[in-house]
Every structure is written in structure tokens, then in C-alpha cells.
Amino acid sequence: MEKKRILKEDGRYLLYYHFPESATPEQTKAFEAVPAPVIVSGEVGANTAASAPRAGKEREPRV
């Protein structure tokens, strides 16, 4: 499984997921045309108490 992340004009992100083994040629072409680096995330078919004080405090992701 591969993915590409783009930012939309309003700042929201969008992720395209691509599965090379099942994608149609048109889908592969469309994925390749996305102007973003490929991120490999996995391969399909391969082994691979509500509490008040803790609502979101940190704003930076861990990774």
C-alpha cells in the first residue's frame, strides 16, 4: 500500500491510497500524477475512562 499526502488550498490535508496490484491503469496514472512524495505504509496480502481533565492539551503530533 502506498499513499500520497497533499494540502488543499484551505489547509486541509488529503491522502490518496494506492494498491499497485489491484489498481486499474487509469488509477495508477492518476496516483502517479499527484504531486507529492510516495509514502509506503503496508502491503495488502503480506504479513506484516472518559475524564474531564484530559481533553486535548497538546497541539503538536508525536511524530
Binding site: L15, E26, G56
Partner: protein
């Protein structure tokens, strides 16, 4: 505007999101915002000629990565916090006129991989405490876009129902040394009357304690707290049983069955070793009790939290079990 308001009476957060009043409401197929953008056509959410599976931040989110400051001031007893989190829309296919049940198992399996990826990536944010994957299907459920899609909410708190499940599972583990849902599954398998479908890794049942007439839970045979804990064989088996259950729903009354589908898994503030007493599962809530009668959440359910089910789980499970999946 949006914010989190604490309800000290029920000890739960309420999300206000007034901007969602203006969200898109059943646009015609030519103005489907979840379709690929056609050359010369109106710009959809997805600026590509086609796609396989896509996820993006909701244009009308209940939770935001960079939330606005609350519009009102809270108090010590009733605090207010920014509605920080992430709301994603997950498009299963570029096709408008289809649904998850009609997609091939391979495609559903790919979706399982995407769900897993989203769980891992969203869980990595410090402010996210619970990743909730779900699908609202059908007008009866309040869906406003017909294009087949699901949603993912990354909450800054553990929502009330998963929190109650986690607390019960922890108490059971401390008392018995076993996981609660594993014991529930063992009882369901021993009895057998409520089993709807099963394969090598998963079992689908109308649970003994079903609140909706055709409610189905899908449980893994092995203790797995979250999607990333499944190996490839289990992911394939999950896709197969999901598709089988959804096909049974559609074949039950020979029409597309509306439902809420949701996943309960461990919280995001720890790895699966910390939550080795809690078992991932999928739940389906179809809103119909007969082909033409809806199950409404009325006084007892909405006000007292006491569900009244007009059917016996043993009977609806038998009906679903005998309904072919193809």
C-alpha cells in the same frame, strides 16, 4: 464555532459545532463532492481524475487540529475547552452508485489496511485519545451525502460508550484474569443460537444483550485490542466477514439496508500491551425492526438509557444466519 462543554451531571463532553448547520445536504450526482474532479466539471473535494481510496479532513468538522478558542467561558464546575481533534471523510471508491457491501472482498481488505493506517497515524498525535472509525449509511441514519463513504473521528477524550466498555473489561480482567469480550464470545459460541456467521478468525453474532433487533457484533477469535494487531490473514478474514454481514443485511428484505457501523478498539494513549484486557470489535446497528418500521430512540432509550428491544436476539440471529450472503 465549536468547543467542548463538560457535563458534570453525566460526566461527559458535549461537542458544539454550529458551523455544521450549513453542511452540504444531498447534492445531485453531478455535484457529488466526493467524486473525482472531472475535466471542466465543478471542483469536488478530490482534485484528481480518479482514485482508489481517499481520506481527507472534513470540510465541516466537529473537531479541528487548530481549533478556535471557545465562544463562551466555562466555570470550574462546567469547564469549556477548544474542540481539538481531527475529523476525516474516507471515500471507499470513486463510484457514486454503489456501497461497501457491493465492493469485492479485495477492496474491503484494502480498506482494512487504510483503517489500520489511519488508526496508527491519528493515534500518534499527543492530543488524540481515541480514534473512532464508523460509517453512517442511509437517509434513516441522517446521512447527507449518498456517495459511499465512512468517517473517522480522532477525539481528545475517550467517548462515554468505549469508556464504559473499557472500565467493565478492566474490572472483569482484575477479577478473573480473562478478557471480558473473550468470555462473551465463548458463551455465544457455546450457545450457538445467536451466531450469524463465522470464519477462521472472526465470529458475527446478534449479541445476547442486543439493543437493536438486527444488531450484529463481529468479534475476533483471538485477543486483539486494535487494528494494527491483526496479521494479514486476520485482515483478510475481517474483510470477508464484514462483506458477508452487509450482504446478508441487503438480502434480508431485498433492499439496501441502512446502518451505523462502528469499531471499538483500545484508546490511543498507550500500546496494545497496556490494553491486553480489551478486544477490538465491530458493531452494526440497522435502524429497522421490520421491513417498514423503524426502531426509534424514544423516551426510555433517549432519556433513561434503557433500551427496549422488540425482538429476541435468538430469532433475529436465526433469520440473518439463514439469509444468504450473496
Amino acid at each position: 464555532m465549536s468547543e467542548l462543554r463538560w457535563n458534570p451531571v453525566l460526566e461527559e463532553w458535549v461537542i458544539t459545532a454550529t458551523h455544521r448547520q450549513d453542511r452540504t445536504f444531498f447534492p445531485p450526482p453531478d455535484y457529488d463532492p466526493l467524486a473525482p474532479t472531472k475535466p471542466g466539471g465543478f471542483p469536488t473535494e478530490i482534485p484528481s481524475k480518479t482514485y482508489e481510496i481517499v481520506t481527507f479532513e472534513n470540510k465541516f468538522p466537529s473537531l479541528r487540529r487548530e481549533p478556535p478558542e471557545p465562544a463562551v467561558e466555562g466555570t470550574e464546575g462546567m469547564p469549556v475547552e477548544p474542540a481539538q481533534g481531527i475529523c476525516e471523510v474516507l471515500c471507499y471508491t470513486p463510484e457514486y452508485d454503489t456501497e461497501l457491501a457491493r465492493l469485492p472482498v479485495r477492496k474491503v481488505e484494502e480498506l482494512v489496511y487504510v483503517w489500520t493506517d489511519r488508526f496508527e497515524e491519528l493515534s500518534a498525535h499527543e492530543y488524540v485519545r481515541y480514534v473512532y472509525i464508523f460509517e453512517n449509511k442511509g437517509k434513516e441514519i441522517g446521512v447527507t451525502l449518498a456517495h459511499p463513504h465512512g468517517q473517522i473521528y480522532a477525539y481528545p477524550f475517550i467517548p462515554p460508550i468505549p469508556a464504559r466498555e473499557l472500565a467493565a473489561a478492566k474490572r472483569h480482567f482484575e477479577r478473573t484474569g480473562r478478557d471480558l469480550l473473550g468470555d462473551v464470545l465463548a458463551e455465544e459460541l457455546k450457545d450457538g443460537r445467536r451466531v450469524v456467521a463465522e470464519n477462521a478468525h472472526f465470529v458475527a453474532v446478534v449479541p445476547f444483550f442486543a439493543r437493536y433487533p438486527y444488531e450484529v457484533h463481529i468479534l475476533p477469535r483471538a485477543l486483539r485490542p486494535a487494528l494494527p494487531d491483526f496479521d494479514a490473514g486476520e485482515k483478510h478474514a475481517l474483510a470477508a466477514i464484514l462483506k458477508g454481514v452487509m450482504e446478508k443485511y441487503n438480502n434480508l428484505w431485498n433492499r439496501s439496508m441502512p446502518y451505523i457501523m462502528l469499531m471499538h478498539q483500545r484508546p490511543s494513549d498507550g500500546d496494545s500491551a497496556v490494553y491486553d484486557y480489551y478486544r477490538f470489535h465491530v458493531e452494526f446497528y440497522p435502524p429497522y425492526r421490520t421491513p417498514d418500521k423503524l426502531k426509534y430512540l424514544a423516551g426510555s432509550e433517549a432519556g433513561a438509557g434503557a433500551f427496549i428491544n422488540d425482538t429476541h436476539a435468538e430469532a433475529t440471529a436465526q433469520t440473518l444466519r439463514e439469509t444468504p450472503p450473496h
